[in-house]
């Protein structure tokens, strides 16, 4: 185990140092203002937009700002004096030409490593059977998908993912209130854990507990965001494209109305759980909900991390699903690589050389042979089909049990 852990850490440090997505620089540039005493980053960025080298808005929630900014303050001695000017450097080439970039990336991604390893240990202790726990631990540490998503794309969602997993550990022990607390903290980083509230409501033993566990996460979120509530916050973080994209896909039913697929799935599962399921297994509902969301929406690659630890648990519980889960995960990660975004593939390697800017993206290469949109549609359809069957199996087996 110890040797495996060391190998896993080495692999992660290597990916951290050598693959660079500019998002990590952007949100750390914004978080660097905490060191200068800025508390409300949302209004500060909008008011000072004209004078700032990077013009992006801060799209994350306040807790992310304070944690990243606080971490920078703590590690400023290691990062060195040139760090702030690197963050503020708007030159695409000079940023990757800076020889300190390896150090910056390793230090900035180090908190993700801590959280990543913490998830591995939570998975180890998730199962009563030690062997199953060790399998989950190894699968988490040695699957290429999460390494890529966390360390190449500098995925900040790992904060929410860890807290959501802790919430599930409490759910497993029937401690719904504690679970709702952790879901609340998780939603302070990303909103998606709030989508779990309807299922938590179903699980509550009586009306009092149902109300308590449903309102607690919302109350925590409101308490954290209320001091920052302003048009700038609403525009930048609350209704940003990334926050609302999950509920974008839909189909028209006429007269300006449409069925929103995300809400449709949520509602269908809620009523299914309410009307037909005598003993609700929340793990299964969460899995099915996420599987269907990814099947029917244009997802961001970072979202795949939301489901990753639960996929590991499922593959450990039901080894017959390991291969289908691996194949569907591979499909899910390949789809975004064909988006017309250079930083999904080639530009991640700009640290090696900026000559890679001359290379076409997989989208452009494929375009010469076949319609890339059709190709992505085929992959997404395959993902949806596979996810539907796995969802059916999850719910059916639960019914049989």
């Amino acid at each position: 185990m110890k040797k495996l852990l060391i190998l896993a850490i080495v692999l992660r440090l290597l990916v951290s140092a050598f693959l660079f997505h500019p998002d990590i620089k952007t949100y750390n540039f914004q978080a660097s203002f905490l060191k200068k005493g800025v508390i409300n980053i949302y209004s500060y960025l909008i008011e000072n937009k004209a004078n700032l080298p990077l013009k992006d808005e801060f799209v994350y929630f306040p807790l992310t700002y304070f944690i990243l900014g606080g971490y920078q303050a703590v590690t400023s001695g290691i990062l060195g004096s040139g760090f702030d000017s690197w963050l503020a450097d708007a030159g695409a080439n000079s940023v990757v030409a800076n020889p300190s970039i390896f150090k910056y990336l390793v230090v900035l991604k180090f908190p993700y490593l801590i959280l990543d390893i913490a998830i591995a240990y939570l998975l180890l202790n998730y199962f009563k059977d030690r062997r199953k726990g060790e399998k989950a631990f190894t699968l988490w540490l040695f699957n290429p998908f999460t390494i890529l998503i966390i360390y190449a794309f500098s995925n900040i969602d790992i904060f929410s993912v860890l807290l959501t997993l802790i919430a599930f550990l409490f759910i497993k022990r029937e401690k719904l209130f504690k679970a709702s607390l952790f879901l609340g903290f998780a939603s302070c980083f990303k909103l998606y854990p709030l989508l779990f509230i309807p299922f938590l409501f179903l699980k509550g033993k009586d009306l009092k507990e149902k109300i308590l566990v449903s309102f607690t996460p919302v109350l925590i979120l409101v308490t954290v965001i209320l001091p920052f509530w302003s048009p700038a916050f609403v525009q930048s973080a609350l209704i940003s494209g990334l926050t609302t994209r999950i509920f974008n896909p839909g189909f028209a039913i006429g007269f300006g109305q449409s069925i929103i697929v995300g809400f449709f799935i949520l509602s269908a599962l809620f009523f299914y759980g309410w009307l037909t399921d005598k003993k609700i297994n929340l793990f299964n509902y969460w899995m099915v909900f996420l599987l269907l969301i990814f099947s029917f929406s244009h997802f961001h690659i970072a979202w795949l991390l939301w489901i990753a630890p639960f996929m590991i648990i499922l593959a450990t519980k039901k080894p017959s699903l390991s291969l289908p889960i691996f194949i569907l995960s591979a499909i899910a990660i390949i789809i975004p690589m064909f988006y017309q975004d250079r930083y999904m593939t080639i530009s991640l390697f700009r640290i090696y050389t900026t000559w890679f800017d001359l290379l076409p993206t997989p989208f452009v290469v494929l375009q010469k042979l076949y319609d890339p949109y059709n190709f992505m549609s085929i992959l997404h359809s395959a993902l949806a089909g596979g996810a539907l069957v796995i969802s059916y199996q999850i719910l059916k087996k639960e019914e049989e049990a």
């Binding site: 990916v15 300190s100 040695f142 699957n143 050389t353 900026t354 000559w355 001359l358 290379l359």
Partner: protein
């Protein structure tokens, strides 16, 4: 489980250490340097309004010239022509693109047959869109300073526009065909390793 450990370890090491080399083999030309910085000043090109730019090629095997071009509202769908002349004013290469393929603010490369003995030679090119009307302009940026401060040896000499000549010019980058694929692979790894192993010898901006 062992298979998964091996698979992931090999895949990660492959992506980090082999993949850049494989990607390098697909590069057909390499830039002579970074694109110089440019300011807000722009020149409009359409009809008879064309730009002439003098420069020195710092490397052999010149095969393309690139610069940033604006195509406001993507209105230009006409031919955009780059004519390349030697220092005796002989037309030696021509590259034609269609404005339809030029986005607003794209870095655009005009590719032509390789000029093998281009090292340290002076050239002049004209950039024009002769059939475009006044509402179908394309625009090129001008360098912030007549001499690229980050790279004084960029080779950019002077430009002529509306019959007037000035020092400096557009933020152009010349591209050169490498002698062989190994040259590129070596270049990629040596750039990465020198930054990693000898950070103090690297230039930081």
């Amino acid at each position: 489980m062992k298979k998964m450990i091996w698979f992931t370890t090999i895949l990660v090491l492959f992506v980090l250490f082999i993949m850049p080399g494989i990607m390098a083999t697909t590069i057909n030309m390499i830039p002579a340097g970074d694109q110089p910085g440019y300011g807000p000043r722009r020149l409009s090109i359409y009809g008879k309004e064309e730009l002439s730019q003098k420069f020195i090629s710092n490397n052999k095997n010149l095969t393309a010239i690139g610069t940033t071009i604006k195509n406001p509202n993507l209105k230009n769908k006409k031919e955009v022509i780059l004519n390349l002349y030697d220092n005796n004013n002989n037309l030696i290469r021509r590259s034609i693109l269609n404005g339809f393929n030029i986005g607003d603010g794209d870095f655009v490369k005009f590719v032509f047959d390789v000029i093998p003995d281009s090292v340290n030679k002076e050239y002049l090119f004209t950039l024009s869109s002769p059939t475009a009307g006044a509402d179908e302009i394309i625009e090129v940026f001008l360098m912030e300073n007549p001499v690229d401060m980050d790279n004084p040896a960029s080779g950019i000499i002077e430009y002529t526009f509306a019959e007037e000549t000035f020092a400096g010019g557009i933020p152009l980058v010349t591209f050169h065909k490498p002698e062989n694929k190994w040259e590129i692979i070596r270049g990629v790894y040596s750039n990465w390793l020198s930054k990693l192993l000898f950070p103090r010898s690297q230039k930081t901006k």
